[in-house]
Symmetry: C2
Subunit: 217 residues, 2 copies
């Protein structure tokens, strides 16, 4: 009869270190995305990962450490999603660029969840030099990739190339932001089309004509 209706010790199974760390990071990211950093308490994270709070400190030096690793995981995931579309073959440089731009303005890259994450981390990135380094690195990597795609369109002097990359990056970021912030304010492919038109206008190319996937929906 002992233990009936009383707080019995929780049953658990031993998992590999890798899986536990990933589960805790994923839980932290979900919570930050949904409710900001303040929602990601050790207890909430542990709850969502299906463990008890103490385990966090068994796998991470501190909660701050967990958040740091979560940030790194998010940034690499975004980079990978962005660049994934470039692995497919494309008939021309224009088509490559068009596919890249369109991918940024469509799920899973354009996603309110992602924007919540991004915004939630901003202040912590400010304070932590390690996180700031990850941020700068990822941002510049993205812009460099974009610049190389633009360079493939044709010859351009470096200064102009840099300005074009910044401008296109700005367009993509801005539309991404709008789409994430007000997902219901736009028609399904509206932002994608606007993005291609705008980047195309900046570069003097008709990118819309080079996107092969527009008939899929």
């Amino acid at each position: 009869m002992v233990g009936f209706m009383t707080g019995e010790r929780k049953k658990f199974t031993r998992e590999g270190e890798e899986r536990r760390r990933e589960a805790l990071i994923a839980a932290a990211l979900d919570l930050i995305a949904a409710g900001g950093p303040q929602a990601a308490t050790v207890r909430a994270i542990a709850d969502r990962a299906g463990v008890t709070p103490g385990l966090i400190r068994h796998y991470f030096r501190s909660k701050e450490d967990l958040v740091r690793e979560a940030y790194r995981a998010m940034m690499t995931a975004m980079s990978d999603d962005n660049a994934a579309v470039l692995q497919a073959p494309h008939p021309s440089a224009e088509a490559r660029l068009a596919a890249f731009v369109a991918a940024a303005l469509r799920p899973p890259v354009m996603d309110p969840h992602r924007m919540g994450l991004w915004a939630g981390f901003i202040h912590q990135v400010r304070g932590d030099p390690d996180m700031a380094a990850v941020h700068a690195e990822t941002y510049l990597g993205y812009r460099d990739l974009l610049e190389s795609l633009i360079a493939a369109l044709g010859p351009n002097d470096p200064a102009r190339l840099r300005a074009l990359a910044i401008a296109c990056n700005g367009v993509i970021d801005g539309l991404w932001l709008e789409g994430c912030a007000l997902p219901d304010a736009f028609a399904p492919r509206e932002l994608e089309t606007i993005g291609l038109q705008s980047v195309g206008a900046i570069l003097g190319r008709d990118l819309l004509a080079h996107l092969p996937e527009l008939e899929s929906d």
Copy 2:
């Protein structure tokens, strides 16, 4: 002898309700901008405003109420700063639009402090319907204003006008974001120039030629 070297009661002066409320709101905004919502505790806000924590609940129903009003104050301030440049006379519709775009990519509108604020509020806006309403209202107001400036350039059908406004808004937002996030990554007027070129490219106008203030620095 009573009270010597002991915690004496704080001296204070009575201020008008208006000024106290403004001071508390300003303090909350500063703290959120610098360190995110988690930094804006009642004690920190009161400290920064030069009062004791209890006073917050004398002027606001709850901390949540104070944050709500702070958000409203921020949004109207941003709108006002944006639109202020339009009060001056401009020789042409192009010049008006150019001045508007440039103003958005220059202090005080483009300011890391402001971006910190904006990001800090995102999650709270999600949860609170009142704040969400303020947000949508302000955003759409800004875009409508932009659309009217574009419409003044010449005749356009409504659908195209809407798309142009969204695109230009996206460019401005994106460049604003980049400038705020990495203030040292760009030359002084670089983003301003890129913004004018890009918006100009989208609209098919040379806006850069219509900005009168470029010789000021």
